[in-house]
Every structure is written in structure tokens, then in C-alpha cells.
């Protein structure tokens, strides 16, 4: 097989996944961190929802929207964070030079980071979904096939953002690290996690509809409140996600190219 930038080796992808798995396995604080925040979030919002449902008629009908939103938001946020943290581990350990000078291709690296974001999410979020059943009787898996559509769309968005942020860090060094932790919060008000899009000012609503997660959260509310699954929302989100993901990969490759031009790969500090 010709050795080009487009070659793809499952063995090299497995090597990177193994590297992150070894790291997770060797560090209990890392594992704890995966579970800690999703649990705190779910419990806090769960009790808030419990209080509201017992005091307001509408919310009594809309049972689960808050806690559902928390769990889905966590998929989006933790998905991106899982991707970015695996990438940051390479920067923190000054290993990125070893990887960039190895036969590992950018697409293989990205694939390994995507798979690991799912693994990290599974470790952190799956136990929390069971806690949600135990504490509040909310069964996320009760969303059925809709959950698959929600999950797929949210993961695609989280990867696209994670890929873009990783490119920025490669190009600009650890000074851009804060973006990895904070960029998703920019999306939080605009994607209408906890309220319908109609809550936003009219002029801001088109902006919200440009973001794929908005469709997911609207879809979730439609399912929980009106008991209606709206596949058109999921297809719109998917179309936007394809554009967003392609844009993220394109930006990553351009930023990597720029990092090579500016010598940033040799100086991965601040």
C-alpha cells in the first residue's frame, strides 16, 4: 500500500487508543473526574426539577425535560471535553512531537481521539443515567431510537468543536488551552438547552437554528412534552453537523499546516 497522508492504519489507531486506555487505567483521579461532574449536575438539576414539578402544572406535564436536558448537555459537553482532554494529555506530557514525527496520520489521530471521547463518556455518563433512574425515575433509555439520533448528532457536534480546538492548541500552544474547557459554554445559551428556541429574542433565533444541538434539544422537548418524535429536526441537525464536522477537520488540517510553517510543533508550551 502506498504510504500517503490518506493511508489509514487500524493498528496505529489502536495504538493511540491503547495509549489513552493505559493512562486512564493508571490514574484514579482521572477516572473519578469522569464521573464526578456529571453526577453533581444530574443530582442538582434533578432536585430542581422535582421541586418545580410539584409546584407547577405545566412542568408536571413536561416531566423529565430538565433532567433529560442535563443528560443530553453532558453528552455534548463531555464528548468535546473527552476529545480535547485526550489531545491535551499529549501536550501536557510533551509527547506531541513524538506523535507528529511518527507515521501516525492526522485522520488516525482524530479517529483515536473520537473513539476515546466515547469511551470516556461511557465511563462518566452511563453510571449517571442509572443514578437518574434510581433517584428521579427518569429513564434516558426510555427515549428509545430517538436517543440514538440525539446521541449521534450531539457527538458529531462535540467532535467537530474538539477537532477545531485541538487545531488551535497545536497552532497557538497551551495559551489556547482554556478554549478546550470553556468553548462549549458559548453554545449553552444559544442551543437552548433548558428552554425552547422561542424564548430567545427573535433576532437571535436564526443564530440558534444554525447550531445542530438546538435541533436535538427541541427534539427532546417535543418527545417528552408532546410525545412526538420529529425526525425532520434530526435530519436538519445531521446536515448541519456534516458541514460543521467537515469545517472542523478542514480547520485542523490548515492549523496543523500553519503550525509546521511557524515551527509551533517544536514549541508546544505557552
Amino acid at each position: 500500500m502506498s504510504e500517503t497522508a490518506l493511508s489509514f492504519s487500524p493498528r496505529r489507531v489502536s495504538a493511540m487508543m491503547l495509549r489513552y486506555w493505559y493512562l486512564l487505567r493508571s490514574s484514579w483521579p482521572r477516572l473519578l473526574d469522569l464521573v464526578y461532574w456529571p453526577t453533581v449536575q444530574m443530582v442538582t438539576w434533578g432536585f430542581l426539577q422535582y421541586y418545580i414539578t410539584t409546584n407547577a402544572g405545566f412542568f408536571a406535564r413536561a416531566g423529565g425535560t430538565f433532567i433529560g436536558a442535563v443528560l443530553l448537555w453532558d453528552i455534548l459537553f463531555r464528548g468535546q471535553l473527552g476529545f480535547s482532554i485526550s489531545f491535551l494529555e499529549e501536550m501536557w506530557s510533551r509527547n506531541i512531537g513524538n506523535l507528529m514525527m511518527s507515521p501516525l496520520r492526522p485522520f488516525e489521530f482524530i479517529t483515536a481521539l473520537m473513539v476515546m471521547s466515547v469511551v470516556r463518556l461511557a465511563i462518566g455518563a452511563v453510571p449517571v443515567t442509572f443514578l437518574a433512574i434510581a433517584f428521579f425515575g427518569f429513564n434516558l433509555y426510555g427515549l428509545g431510537l430517538a436517543l440514538v439520533a440525539f446521541f449521534l448528532n450531539l457527538m458529531l457536534t462535540s467532535w467537530a468543536i474538539g477537532i477545531f480546538v485541538s487545531g488551535l492548541i497545536l497552532r497557538n500552544g497551551m495559551g489556547a488551552e482554556n478554549l478546550a474547557w470553556s468553548i462549549m459554554f458559548l453554545f449553552m445559551p444559544l442551543t437552548c438547552v433548558y428552554y425552547p428556541v422561542t424564548t430567545l429574542p427573535v433576532w437571535l433565533q436564526p443564530v440558534a437554528w444554525l447550531l445542530p444541538p438546538t435541533y436535538v434539544f427541541e427534539g427532546m422537548r417535543a418527545l417528552l412534552i408532546e410525545k412526538t418524535f420529529r425526525p425532520e429536526l434530526m435530519l436538519d441537525a445531521l446536515a448541519l453537523n456534516v458541514v460543521l464536522f467537515a469545517g472542523g477537520v478542514f480547520a485542523f488540517l490548515k492549523l496543523l499546516q500553519s503550525a509546521r510553517r511557524h515551527g509551533s510543533l517544536m514549541q508546544t508550551g505557552e
Binding site: E3, T4, A5, S7, S9, R11, R12, S14, A15, M16, L18, R19, Y22, L23, S26, S27, E89, S93, R94, N95, I96, G97, N98, L99, M100, M101, S102, P103, L104, R105, Q257, R260, R261, H262, G263, L265, M266
Partner: protein, 254 residues
């Protein structure tokens, strides 16, 4: 039928690398022959690391051309990265992973066959067998350097770039590492480019020395010829002459 000409392991042709407006490397050219060990000397900021990074495909030349085993870097790097490797103090192997885990990951990345045996072999050769299952971060500086060397040799590279390979090693361990490198190069007919500030090391290992200053090649010859040309007894004295411009003054006087 004529045999295809074998491309040189490393060929640098009028390489220029400018960061914004500052030239880090300013039009250097050299070719390394197969199986040779060449020292790259120069003070801090002379352009050694940029030269090595460009050969590895880590930075793009501003102008000029770098080829490794006939592949233009960085454009065609994937044709040759599997046959080359490097060691540098600017990068580390992950510290939380054990030595064996690190070797496994890098072995898989480089497509090493029979990886288990290769790790065991490197363990024996670099005296790492007892350390294989210890976290890399808990090793001494000298042991870590040996691990970095094991990573650099995991794929039996035919082109090896070494940036300060014995820095932070005690004299005995450093000597042991040099002996190992010599053996490795003889056995694998590997071509080595070695950047070092340790003149004794360069004198012992290298059959050719390239001295850089302010991004340019100031001199390029065998250690013996350099000593004779500068009328010095050690490479360190030659290096100081070049660094302080004594060579230029002498030439001007002549």
C-alpha cells in the same frame, strides 16, 4: 538494465527557514552518505534544532529542499517516517505509562512486527529489562534517556536523528550509550545526524562534523581535518574558535 541510483539518506539543499523575519537557517546544504555518523555542532540559536526538525518534517522550509531516503520533507514524509526515528530533549515519552506500555504504543505506531520480542530485545540491549514494568516517570534521568533511546530504536531506523542524546547522563552511562549507538549503526548500516554540545562525544562518534553559526554552515569536514585546519588539539577548541569568530580573524589575517 541500469540499477536505480540509491538516494542519499539525508540531502539538504539550500535550506532556508525564516520565522517571521528572523532567519533560523540561512541557505545550508549538505548530503549525508549511508552508514555515516555526522555531528551537527553550533551554539544555542545556531539553527541545529530547526535543521533537525525540518529533516523530520516537523517544520516546512521557507525555501530550499530537504529529502530523506529520496522523499521530500515534509510533503512526502509518510513514505519514510516508518524507517526513521529521533531522540530529542524537547519531547518526552508519556511519564505515567510504563516503559513496556510506551514501547508497545510506539511499536504499533511504527508498525513493528513481532513487537513483544523487539521490546524484550531492546530491554536486554539497553539494560531496561528490570524497568519494563515501571512507570517511566519514576525512573532516574539516565534511565529515562535510555527509554527515549529505546523508543528511537524501536523500529530499527536506517536514519536516526539525535539531539543531545547523552545530556543528563553520568559519564559512565553516557559512554555506554555511545558504545551502543556505535554498535547499532555498524549492525544496521544506519545513518545518524547527531546534534550535541559534547565535543568529546562528537569526536568519538562522528566521522564528519558540520559546524553551524547564525543559521549558516561555518565549517564541514572530518574531525581530524578540522583540528589540523584550526591548529587545535580538541574539537572544543575548534568550536570556541568558530563561536568567537577566531577562524574568520585568522583567515582575514592570512
Amino acid at each position: 538494465m541500469c540499477a536505480m541510483p540509491v538516494p542519499p539518506p539525508i540531502e539538504v539543499d539550500h535550506l532556508v527557514k525564516v520565522y517571521r523575519t528572523i532567519p533560523a537557517v540561512d541557505g545550508i546544504s549538505f548530503t549525508l552518505s549511508p552508514g555515516s555518523i555526522t555531528g551537527l555542532l553550533g551554539g544555542n540559536g545556531a539553527g541545529k534544532t530547526t535543521t533537525i526538525a525540518t529533516i523530520m518534517g516537523l517544520t516546512t522550509p521557507t525555501s530550499g529542499r530537504v529529502t530523506v531516503l529520496g522523499a521530500e520533507m515534509p510533503r512526502q514524509r509518510y513514505r519514510v517516517l516508518q524507517r526513521m526515528n529521533f531522540e530529542s530533549p524537547y519531547v518526552e515519552v508519556p511519564m505515567r505509562l510504563t516503559v513496556r506500555q510506551n514501547m508497545t504504543v510506539f511499536g504499533m505506531l511504527y508498525g513493528v512486527e513481532d513487537l513483544r520480542e523487539r521490546i524484550a530485545q531492546l530491554g536486554r540491549e539497553l539494560d531496561l529489562t528490570d524497568l519494563l514494568d515501571r512507570p517511566t516517570g519514576r525512573l532516574s534521568a539516565g534511565q529515562k534517556t535510555r527509554v527515549s533511546l529505546a523508543k528511537a530504536l524501536i523500529n530499527n531506523p536506517v536514519v536516526l536523528l539525535l539531539d543531545e542524546p547523552t545530556a543528563s547522563l553520568d559519564p559512565d552511562t553516557a559512554d555506554w550509550v555511545r558504545a551502543h549507538l556505535e554498535r547499532y549503526c555498524r549492525k544496521h548500516h544506519a545513518t545518524v545526524l547527531l546534534a550535541s554540545h559534547n565535543m568529546a562525544e562528537v569526536e568519538r562518534l562522528c566521522e564528519r562534523v558540520i559546524i553551524m553559526k547564525r543559521g549558516r554552515i561555518e565549517d564541514d569536514d572530518t574531525p581530524a581535518k578540522l583540528l589540523a585546519r584550526y591548529g587545535r588539539r580538541t574539537l572544543e577548541e575548534v568550536f570556541l574558535d568558530v563561536a568567537r569568530g577566531n577562524g574568520e580573524q585568522r583567515e582575514a589575517a592570512q
